[in-house]
């Protein structure tokens, strides 16, 4: 039951080529839709049935998002793919772009058809040079084969798709900052509402989805929404790409059904490196609160199970930490990232992320004060829920988790001006 959706061509030789993709039925779904002029509502209905939830991190139901666009509204509409993949620990979209770019292209064309868009953009992380080239090559092949451009396969439907290479800012993965960035402006999130479905790229109705979400579309339509839903579990339809990294023997990307036990995923990744003890897991990208190792071993990889454990599945970036890790150091590293990547627009995030980082850094460097622990919790609480975009929440999220589960390590740093892990 692995590699059934986005990575289903991984076993082929040079699976990124059009002919290889077509050898597995690629573009058949699109061809059928264009030939039969499938009503767009039917497509959206099928996506709804699949239970597909946005793979970019927030887990918003994709079919529902598409239905917010008023298809018959006059004027330009856009489909935008989010391949910015900046969250530390996440590297799954990169593999889709490298190994199965055509499935993403096909998914985007179908999405465009479903909402009546004639222009699309794929915003690719600035550092992804090879994936960018693969994607560009796929666009060229698709264009030559008549899947992109005007009057696709004589259906009267036009769609052009452009790749856009980002400039290296994490915040540009936030959907509205991404739109600003495509427009050539400073990458800063917009205040919402209005949401992109009403006021998106260049102020036009836009759907923006993660790479994995869009690349799942052709298979969902080919095999049917219920087929996809049944791969996973309740509230978590389908399979999911997990990027698992950290102290592992075989880190990498694995496409497995939602609801798979974490222990199985850990096994696929070769288990903890050097047979060391599993200390903790960050289950959904660096912004997800940490879960202690033992607790994690009992969990399954789906939205509900991880949420119940007080964390989130996010983009499916699983970071595995063994017992050599100092949690103060880990948190310092993460809070440095958010401090550095805040766009600086809103007060709590601009000021709060720097504050968090400096306090944690002080503790790590043996200059912590007893009151710092409560201060950290308090500052984090004053950021979360009060910012324009979720970067603020992402910065605050890890703090509470770390202090909840590993407070003793922080206390030790404060009391002894050195590290518990190193000392042990």
């Amino acid at each position: 039951m692995v590699n059934e959706v986005c990575l289903r061509t991984l076993d082929l030789d040079r699976p990124w080529l059009l002919e290889q993709y077509q050898s597995r039925g690629g573009y058949e779904m699109l061809t059928r839709i264009l030939k039969e002029k499938t009503p767009p509502e039917e497509i959206i209905e099928e996506v709804k049935k699949s239970g597909l939830r946005g793979r970019g991190g927030a887990g918003f139901p994709t079919g529902l998002k598409w239905s917010f666009i008023s298809r018959n509204a006059p004027g330009q509409k856009y489909v935008v793919c989010n391949s910015d993949e900046g969250e530390p620990g996440t590297f799954k979209d990169r593999d889709i772009l490298r190994y199965n770019p055509h499935q993403l292209v096909e998914g985007m064309i179908i999405a465009a058809y479903a909402i009546g868009a004639t222009q699309g953009y794929n915003y690719i992380r600035g550092e992804f040079w090879e994936p960018y080239e693969r994607f560009e090559a796929a666009l060229k092949e698709a264009r030559e084969a008549g899947f992109l451009g005007e009057n696709l396969l004589d259906s009267g439907f036009d769609f052009e798709l452009h790749a856009h290479l980002g400039g290296g800012a994490y915040v540009c993965g936030e959907e509205t900052a991404l739109l600003e960035s495509i427009e050539g402006k400073k990458g800063q999130p917009r205040f919402k509402p209005p949401f992109p479905a009403h006021f998106g790229l260049y102020g036009r109705p836009t759907i923006i989805n993660n790479t994995e979400s869009l690349a799942s579309i052709p298979m969902i339509l080919k095999e049917g929404g219920p087929w996809f839903a049944d791969i996973g579990v309740k509230n978590s339809g389908g399979s999911k790409l997990f990027s698992i990294s950290g102290n592992l023997n075989n880190p990498g990307v694995f496409e497995i059904p939602m609801g798979t036990p974490f222990s199985e995923l850990l096994e696929m990744a070769g288990g903890v490196k050097g047979g060391r003890k599993l200390k903790a897991v960050i289950p959904g990208g660096s912004s997800a609160p940490v879960i202690p190792g033992e607790q994690m071993m009992d969990l399954t990889m789906d939205y509900d199970a991880i949420a119940e454990a007080g964390s989130m599945l996010g983009s499916g970036a699983v970071i595995v930490l063994d017992d050599t890790n100092c949690m103060v150091k880990v948190l310092e590293r993460m809070s440095y990232f958010y401090h550095e990547e805040s766009c600086g627009q809103c007060t709590p995030c601009r000021e709060g992320t720097g504050w968090l980082y400096r306090v944690i850094s002080r503790i790590e460097n043996g200059q912590g004060r007893q009151e710092d622990l409560d201060l950290l919790n308090d500052v984090a609480a004053r950021i979360s829920g009060r910012t324009i975009c979720a970067l603020g929440d992402a910065a605050a999220g890890p703090v509470a988790g770390m202090l909840k589960h590993f407070r003793d390590e922080f206390q030790y740093h404060i009391d002894h001006k050195k590290c518990l892990v190193g000392a042990g």
């Binding site: 205040f191 805040s342 600086g344 627009q345 007060t347 709590p348 000021e351 504050w355 910012t387």
Partner: protein, 781 residues
């Protein structure tokens, strides 16, 4: 309409309005930094967080639309905790040294901190320091104090129409500034001083000279253009310390131009006239008022014949001053009074409307769908009107200009760049494209015109628009063929169904007409039985006696050289002025120091015909006296009747009763002469008046004089014409006009049309030249 509840109080509101608009309206205070009623919503400071029932998180009041039944708590524990949280964040990197900050005492951050800050800081890390930037002579920066509200950034984009301030860098490293170190040049730039909630942007001329609580605030009306922006004058010990806008939605909203904000510095220049002076054997002597006035009265009486007396008054004078000036003049048996010091063509006298005006309310400009501006550099001439025009253009109005200068605009507009004579032809072509034939002079020029594509585009823009206007600006008013431009513009307006209007030049140009400061019009726009001579004739046919009111020879007249000759040959020149200058000292025999802007009570009538009275805010400097009083005493000394006023209000009311029933009216009659006085064989001078050369006060406002718009006099010419004249950039050249010369630097400027050379008027170095628009020759010096 929806009903919401705020802190238990029921409020009616328009659905979709933001919560903060509704609470502001109801007088419920919600702290805010990024929100400003005239700017787009950024929702970024997070100071305005409030509790909304059933919302999981506190919501920003500035970006939360009201909905039926919404229950809001602005001071609940949740709301206060959120507001306090934001305040703490804002303060961690903000210096806590209010005593040495210029904003102290009028700082929004300070105010909110007092209301919802804490008394001790939990922040023990180092604070951010951001270097200050030099952004020009008007605005001082202390960017460490910036709280990143982006009001100044949005102001540039949305109001000034030029992106001058921006944010660079991310997160904590985000810095507000000009991308490259450069000055802020917008003519509205000073408004960011008011917008900046903290001490990051402050007034360079004012800073550290007074504390907000030491200042008293009185109201005033701006004296430098015909908008009549409402002002707040901030005073300390009888001195104007600074000027700020006073909200008036129908005139200036909450903005003022830099000219109106910083000109007060001119009040305290070294050459302020503070004692009456008389010239004896070529030497100036200080005298008492009594002596000076007696001499003036005796001198005027001595001239004997009324028609040998000419009164030339500045249109920046108050209504009361203008009314008394004409009263005294007419009392002397003369109708020789004129305010049109910068006009060169008087062929329309008699056919011109008496109470001419904008044709619209100022606030209606933004609703125009099309506009044609003839001879207007609106941005520099009437900055606030230009802002309204920009609003119209940004929301789709088609704006066209016919000008002898290519303008730097902050919106898209069609610009027809042509010579002064070409302007007449271009406008006639528009008339032709509209199928109009005109009468008299208009008929002659329209007949010869060719309706080209440009003309057709303008014509159809005007015709197709729901609301359109054709307006004449300052350049048109000084044009040698003003009379023809005026009739043509009126023909174009009539033929296209557009409103016809005048962008009056000075604060009281419209008032001067009502006050009867014209040779052919009496107060209340009544036609004089006996016409006097216009300002041009009064100089070409020199008079024996001149009375000058607020007019500086060399700078305030259409033909500086002509003025000098006329005044030099006179027996008596009595000058009522605020300042002295070498040119004035050379020309005058008696100088009477008068109260300047802010020192006298009075009234201005703006270009929209609105009367706005103001009181004297400070006592006149030295022995200076309000000019209305000086003129009244002069009237008394001349034994004139009915000159017993005890207040300026009395003067105003008398004039007001004479003006009763006089309605603004822009109907233009017919003229016959179609001779193009602007048609010259060689190069023609474009003698526009730069914004900071406009009147005695701004010419002495030191900070404004350091801005880009205060460039010194130069010969601006395009590369092609320069080549023909054998000149290169930065050369020095001799301009000759009417046999008089000046040596000025050459500046190559692509904005000047062929056949023209821009030598702006009102600037040092141009006092010897001739007409603002007239033939010149150039020669390398």
């Amino acid at each position: 309409m929806v009903t919401i509840e705020v802190n238990g109080r029921e409020l009616k509101a328009k659905a979709g309005d933001m919560l903060i608009e509704v609470t502001d309206e109801a007088g419920i205070d919600i702290p805010r930094f990024c929100y400003h009623k005239k700017l787009s919503i950024s929702a970024s400071c997070r100071q305005c967080l409030v509790e909304v029932k059933n919302a999981p998180k506190p919501l920003p009041a500035c970006a939360t639309p009201v909905m039926e039944g919404m229950k809001v708590f602005t001071r609940s524990p949740l709301a206060l905790a959120a507001q306090k949280g934001t305040m703490e964040f804002l303060l961690i990197n903000h210096p806590l040294d209010c005593p040495i900050c210029d904003q102290g005492g009028e700082c929004e951050l300070q105010d909110v901190a007092v209301a919802c800050g804490s008394d001790a800081s939990r922040f023990v890390e180092g604070k951010r320091v951001v270097p200050a930037k030099n952004i020009g002579p008007l605005i001082a920066t202390e960017m460490t104090r910036c709280i990143h509200c982006t009001r100044c950034v949005r102001f540039g984009e949305e109001i000034a129409g030029i992106r001058e301030m921006g944010a660079t860098g991310r997160g904590e490293h985000m810095v507000i500034g000009t991308y490259i170190e450069k000055s802020i040049d917008s003519e509205l730039s000073g408004n960011i001083i008011d917008l900046c909630p903290v001490g990051a942007l402050t007034s360079k001329p004012f800073r550290f000279s007074a504390r907000a609580w030491e200042l008293t605030q009185v109201e005033g009306v701006a004296p430098h253009d015909s908008v009549g922006s409402n002002l707040h004058l901030h005073l300390r010990s009888n001195k104007v310390m600074r000027v700020a806008p006073k909200d008036n939605e129908s005139i200036n909203e909450c903005w003022i131009s830099d000219r109106d904000r910083f000109s007060y510095q001119g009040l305290y220049s070294d050459d302020r006239l503070t004692v009456p002076k008389i010239k004896q054997s070529g030497e100036w002597q200080d005298v008492t008022w009594e002596v000076a006035l007696d001499m003036a009265a005796a001198g005027l009486q001595e001239i004997g014949e009324g028609e040998q007396i000419a009164t030339l008054v500045s249109p920046s004078s108050t209504l009361e001053e203008l009314y008394l000036a004409q009263k005294v003049t007419r009392g002397l048996g003369s109708n020789n009074i004129d305010y049109r010091l910068r006009q060169g063509d008087f062929r329309l006298d008699g056919a011109e409307p008496a109470f001419s005006w904008l044709g619209l309310k100022i606030s209606e400009i933004e609703n125009l769908n099309a506009a044609l501006l003839v001879g207007s550099n609106t941005r520099k001439e009437q900055p606030i009107l230009a802002h309204n025009l920009r609003k119209a253009a940004v929301s789709g109005a088609k704006v066209h200009f016919i000008n002898p200068l290519q303008l730097e605009l902050n919106y898209t507009a069609g610009q027809q760049l042509t010579t002064p004579a070409g302007m007449v032809q271009s406008l006639a072509a528009v008339a032709k494209a509209l199928g109009a034939t005109g009468e008299g002079a208009a008929a002659k020029v329209i007949d010869k015109a060719v309706a080209d594509d440009d003309a057709k585009a303008i014509a159809s823009a005007l015709k197709d628009a729901d609301k359109a206007a054709v307006m004449l600006g300052n350049i048109a008013a000084a044009h040698p063929d003003y009379s023809i431009l005026c009739v043509l513009a009126s023909v174009v307006a009539n033929a296209s169904g557009a409103t016809f209007g005048f962008l009056a030049e000075a604060a009281n140009s419209v008032g001067a007409r009502l006050a009867g400061a014209m040779p052919h019009l009496l107060p209340g726009a009544k036609v004089a039985a006996e016409k006097g001579l216009d300002v041009m004739k009064l100089q070409k046919l020199p008079r024996k006696g001149y009375l000058l009111l607020g007019a500086e020879p060399g700078y305030d007249f259409w033909d500086a050289g002509l003025t000098r000759n006329a005044l030099e040959s006179a027996d008596l020149v009595v000058a009522l002025n605020t300042h002295t200058s070498p040119a004035l000292e050379a020309a005058a025999d008696i100088m009477l120091p008068i109260a300047a802007f802010a020192e006298t009570s009075g009234t201005y009538v703006n270009t929209a015909g609105e009367w706005q009275s103001f009181r004297g805010a400070v006592k006149p400097l030295g022995e200076a006296r309000p000019a209305w009083k000086v003129l009244r005493v002069l009237g008394n000394l001349l034994d004139q009747e009915d000159c017993e006023y005890t207040s300026s209000e009395q003067v105003r009311d008398e004039l007001a009763s004479l003006c009763e029933g006089v309605m603004p009216d822009n109907s233009v009659g017919k003229t016959e002469s179609a001779d193009l006085q602007s048609a010259v064989d060689g190069l023609i001078r474009i003698g526009d008046v730069p914004p900071y050369a406009l009147d005695s006060l701004v010419r002495r406002a030191s900070a404004l004089q350091q801005t880009k718009d205060a460039a010194p006099a130069a010969i601006c010419i395009n590369a092609e014409e320069a080549k023909k004249a054998g000149l290169a950039d930065c050369d020095s050249a001799v301009v000759t006009q009417d046999g008089r010369e000046a040596t000025l630097p050459v500046s190559i400027d692509a904005n000047i049309p062929d056949g023209c050379v821009r030598i702006s008027a009102g600037l040092a170095g141009t006092e010897t030249l001739g007409a603002q628009f007239g033939e010149v020759t150039l020669e390398k010096a």
